[in-house]
């Protein structure tokens, strides 16, 4: 399997680190080499935040993703920041409810998903991140579908275990969106 160097970026509170943890746990279950690196500090409290995840079959060198081949992006400033960092041929998944402009690059695949609107319509406010993740899994096969439920169980805290089904529903909606 190819190496996936993933950046997930947006505002603090959008579940960016959570999304990265789901990917990281799935990688752990699949016995892959991996790293998960969050931004930390004031940006977690409302500013732009991001999370770097590397899933690989080789020893991970730097855990800092300089040029992602998968970019999940949930606000305008983060698209401005990371659009040009994506490798040619890379894939960008963006929340088109929150991001008002189009991607200017022509050498990358872009998936416009109105994830925040979809989450509101489905009554699962706050799970736009998981809708995007569904599309990422479909398009990149960065993790296997069968490891996803167990990974989710690991990452969802025990006191919120009842949210598991909503997360799965959101991921499915992302997979189905065309």
């Amino acid at each position: 399997m190819a190496e996936h160097e993933i950046v997930i970026a947006g505002f603090g509170g959008q579940g960016l680190l959570f999304t990265g943890k789901v990917l990281a746990y799935a990688g752990l279950l699949e016995k892959r080499q991996l790293s998960w690196l969050p931004s930390y500090g004031p940006e977690m409290r409302g500013g732009t935040a991001n999370c770097n995840v590397i899933l690989s079959d080789k020893t991970v060198g730097s855990p800092i993703v300089q040029n992602p081949n998968v970019l999940i992006v949930m606000n305008n400033p983060s698209l401005d920041k990371y659009e040009n960092a994506v490798v040619p041929g890379g894939k960008i998944f963006l929340d088109s409810t929150l991001i008002t402009r189009k991607v200017e690059r022509t050498d990358v695949d872009v998936f416009y998903i109105p994830a925040t609107q979809m989450a509101t319509d489905m009554g699962i406010h706050g799970l736009a991140n998981m809708i995007l993740l569904g599309a990422v899994i479909r398009e990149t096969a960065c993790i296997r579908e069968e490891t996803l439920p167990e990974a989710l169980h690991h990452v969802i805290p025990a006191r919120k275990a009842d949210l598991f089904d909503y997360n799965m529903k959101a991921i499915q909606a992302g997979k189905d969106y065309r």
């Binding site: 943890k21 990281a24 746990y25 752990l28 016995k31 080499q33 991996l34 790293s35 998960w36 690196l37 969050p38 930390y40 500090g41 020893t59 991970v60 060198g61 730097s62 855990p63 800092i64 300089q66 690991h154």
Partner: protein, 355 residues
């Protein structure tokens, strides 16, 4: 070995310390190491241990002094400005020949600096963090697995040699998650601490833990015997990793996160046919002088990759006795060098120039 789990570096330090038998943690919160304290706060009360948030860093290190005096494994953790505050206490621990573990998850400085990762405390911790002639063991892990492994080792050696040990990480290493295999619970300390103040039961003379010695003759002897132990440490406990050094003409020297970044640059340079390898010091004190001196005979030049203005470079230049040019790729203040920046230095050196 237990199953592989996913943990932050800071959490791995805390869990590894508990598994090694440490039951006394004293701390004061500071970014980017707060997860160590948070983990201890959750765990210690459940296993009969002590978690205590002190009123300051200075109080915390002195609580470590107190617990260590009774022979109990004790530790504290902080980040750069907090470590500076602890230096008086660390000197007293060294002067009283007490073991302790101090974790330093570095951030940019000087002063309050910032909260982003840094390696700027190299001088502070490798020269003896405090007043007087002394050293502490300094370990520089480069993965979450090593953070766990070296925590146990640091505790063990601190007790073996009766000296403070420091685990030196940075904000990136502390915050990142990687798969880690934790050890089974073990006792890193031994049970016999004849020097500890545990009550004489009227069967032995008093043990006195003190760093004060007003007789210069005796104080000199204390220093001499301490340095005899340091000599043994240098002889037996130096750790390093050699990476692709067999045919190397350029030797990168980097520790911790910058060694990880350098691996990416080495991979790219090797694709271009540049023979570059790396010596990664795992202990910063004792410093791996011998392997560097050997490498200097083989390579054309060396390149230090550091998140400070070349503090480790001074040790490298000394270790190789100025035989070969040593270049520096440095980012500071919380900025992290990219593999491309390291690669640019490697290319310049490969052409025979100094970047």
């Amino acid at each position: 070995m237990k199953e592989t789990v996913l943990m932050k570096g800071n959490e791995a330090i805390a869990e590894a310390a508990i598994l090694a038998g440490c039951r006394h943690y004293f701390g004061y919160p500071i970014t980017p190491q707060t997860e160590v304290a948070a983990y201890m706060a959750k765990k210690m009360p459940k296993i009969g241990g002590t978690f205590l948030q002190a009123e300051s860093e200075i109080a915390a290190i002195n609580m470590v002094y107190g617990a260590a005096s009774t022979g109990k494994p004790a530790m504290t953790s902080s980040s750069s400005p907090g470590i500076a505050l602890k230096c008086e206490g660390i000197s007293y621990l060294a002067g009283a020949d007490l073991p302790a573990l101090i974790v330093n998850v570095q951030r940019g400085g000087p002063g309050l600096g910032g909260i982003q990762p840094s390696q700027a405390d190299y001088f502070l911790v490798t020269r003896g963090p405090g007043h007087g002639d002394f050293h502490v063991l300094v370990f520089a892990p480069a993965s979450v697995q090593e953070m766990a492994d070296l925590t146990g080792r640091a505790l063990h050696l601190a007790w073996k040699y009766r000296m403070p040990a420091m685990l030196l990480a940075d904000g990136t290493m502390g915050q990142m998650m990687e798969p880690v295999q934790l050890p089974e619970p073990h006792n890193a300390f031994g049970t016999d601490n004849p020097w500890a103040t545990t009550g004489t039961e009227l069967k032995r003379p008093h043990n006195i833990i003190n760093s004060l010695e007003l007789s210069p003759e005796k104080l000199e002897q204390n220093n001499f015997s301490r340095y005899e132990r340091y000599r043994q440490v240098e002889e037996n406990e130096t750790l390093w990793e050699e990476y692709l050094m067999d045919d190397a003409r350029i030797c990168i020297v980097a520790c911790g996160i910058t060694a990880r970044i350098s691996r990416n640059a080495i991979a790219e340079a090797r694709k271009e046919g540049i023979k570059v390898g790396m010596i990664r010091p795992i202990t910063l004190w004792p410093f791996p002088k011998a392997p560097l001196a050997r490498a200097a005979e083989q390579v054309d030049s060396l390149l230090c990759v550091e998140m400070n203005m070349g503090q480790m470079k001074e040790d490298v230049v000394l270790a190789i006795r100025c035989q070969k040019p040593v270049d520096l790729c440095a980012r500071v203040g919380g900025m992290i060098p990219t593999p491309d920046e390291v690669l640019a230095h490697i290319r310049t050196l490969a052409k025979g120039g100094n970047a």
